[in-house]
Symmetry: C2
Subunit: 345 residues, 2 copies
Amino acid sequence: MERTEISEYGEFGLIRHLTKDLKIVQPSTKKGVGDDCAVMAFGDAKSENRVLMTTDMLLEGIHFNLEYVPLKHLGYKAAVVNFSDIYAMNGTPTQLTVSLGISKRFSVEDIEALYAGIRMACERYNVDLVGGDTCASMTGLTISITCLGTAKADEIVYRDGAKLNDLICVSGNLGTAYMGLQLLERERLANAEQPDFAGKEYLLERQLKPEARRDILEALRKADVKPTAMMDVSDGLSSELLHICTQSKVGCCVYEDKLPIDFEAASLAEEMNLNIVTCALNGGEDYELLFTCSLDDYEKLIPIDDLYIIGHITKPEYGCNLIGRNGEELELKAQGWHAFDKAHS
Amino acid sequence: MERTEISEYGEFGLIRHLTKDLKIVQPSTKKGVGDDCAVMAFGDAKSENRVLMTTDMLLEGIHFNLEYVPLKHLGYKAAVVNFSDIYAMNGTPTQLTVSLGISKRFSVEDIEALYAGIRMACERYNVDLVGGDTCASMTGLTISITCLGTAKADEIVYRDGAKLNDLICVSGNLGTAYMGLQLLERERLANAEQPDFAGKEYLLERQLKPEARRDILEALRKADVKPTAMMDVSDGLSSELLHICTQSKVGCCVYEDKLPIDFEAASLAEEMNLNIVTCALNGGEDYELLFTCSLDDYEKLIPIDDLYIIGHITKPEYGCNLIGRNGEELELKAQGWHAFDKAHS
């Protein structure tokens, strides 16, 4: 029998392959596979209420390393990354379910710590934990979280709405979570009894305890700005920009000197001989919001705190490019995700 | 630091422990943890539309053994057991998401087979596959499925509505899926090149490709019968009856000679020196519907095909008992789930 390795497809290729030609038969399904969330309409025919649904699986050894990730932080992050997907559609997260696969290595106290983190995230974001599944695992810890959220039909922002000349904006900073991970890995390999994190606490926080940018959506609403396309930055800016441009059938141009980069992150990158721009483009796990909006909204965007305009949308022929500090053009590529290469059988 | 083994709690004990004192803050949450599904109201204030949500995680080595479970069947079953939870609330499944953790052992063709099974189940039950997550795993296959469904508020049947003198009914037959598993295990251990399944195909089908009892709900609706309490039989009749009785604050009395038992299953049990009544009470994975309904509905129930009245609800003081063929009383106990005992670290 033929055998095609999954690494030949990669994550996105495999998902595209498995979900192509999916039929939609339920009238309540408004948007299936292909965005940060699925969108459903469960109300009466005239109702504008929509339900958003997203799901994420985290596996030990792939997505987290318990040598340096405390279980409480892991629980918090596992919940927040789901909330981030709901916010990325301009929705509000409301309910979540938690499924856990737990090996004998873990004690009741361990799982309590994990749950404490999940509960803390739920409290901070006003989300109800409404169900789940808990089962034994032969190997390590598996966490699968599904989150529901709500939005009005006309509030929802998809990935495919970016238009020619739209501004490209991003919140917070990029590459910082990745540098936090490099720091944790470096100290782990150094096997130091007292890892040296002094002055770098912010990098750790970005990696271990990210927040979803609910505040940015509130600021946009207050400023009466509705993004034309939006995603959260989980796999890295390049990868997400390519998603928006492909789905919107446009190109883009972003400027290296506009990319928001944290000082601590840049300083550690230099120390570790890493290119911080590459980290910002491909690092991932920032959970910042990336969105496009009309050029007409420019004046409204300027006063918003922690928000950066990094480029604009172009014609599709132009492709997706980064303009370097010296004016050179570099094609954006999705480095993203190579986990299948390192996975063992 | 203190260390409590998870096996001291067991599955249900652990879930109870982790989810006690959960606060509900979203007005849309109508029922959280504690039934087959969570129940949400996302419509306008007057709307009777409800959304049901359930989730199940299946782990290789715990829930399935790929030595004898074909991947297509596994996909089908993984979807159907979720639909069964929605039916167990008297709802209709509508959407599902699929998250997969896949190790390098699996090829694209393997995952295509798994997906083909999931898609086949979705087609048969009119459910849309609307999203998911696919990621690399260090070890084996992990499947996490979340399913949404719909129901009107007054149609939903919870576990806690059983009343004194209500009839206890169950569909199909019990213990058959368990006997199918015993057969598969026997042939696996015998290491036969041509396993001998002749005449026992039904047992295999019950284990490998169960169906959710949508037909029973349709028959009940047609007969104008609304159950007072309902669950699906996934962990075994005893365990489910105890859930209904505990949550409804009642006792129950079921009769050994009323338990629906398949002839093939009984014959294999005799061959393998197993007590088929024990298998029927504790086998699990039958995915039949167990429900209670008013004594007034007795006449309406009789004509319904493949439905069996096995006992009645008593006062709580009586406890939960099985009346044996010779009139002896046996207390029902939840054997259920011991997977934590056998899981490795």
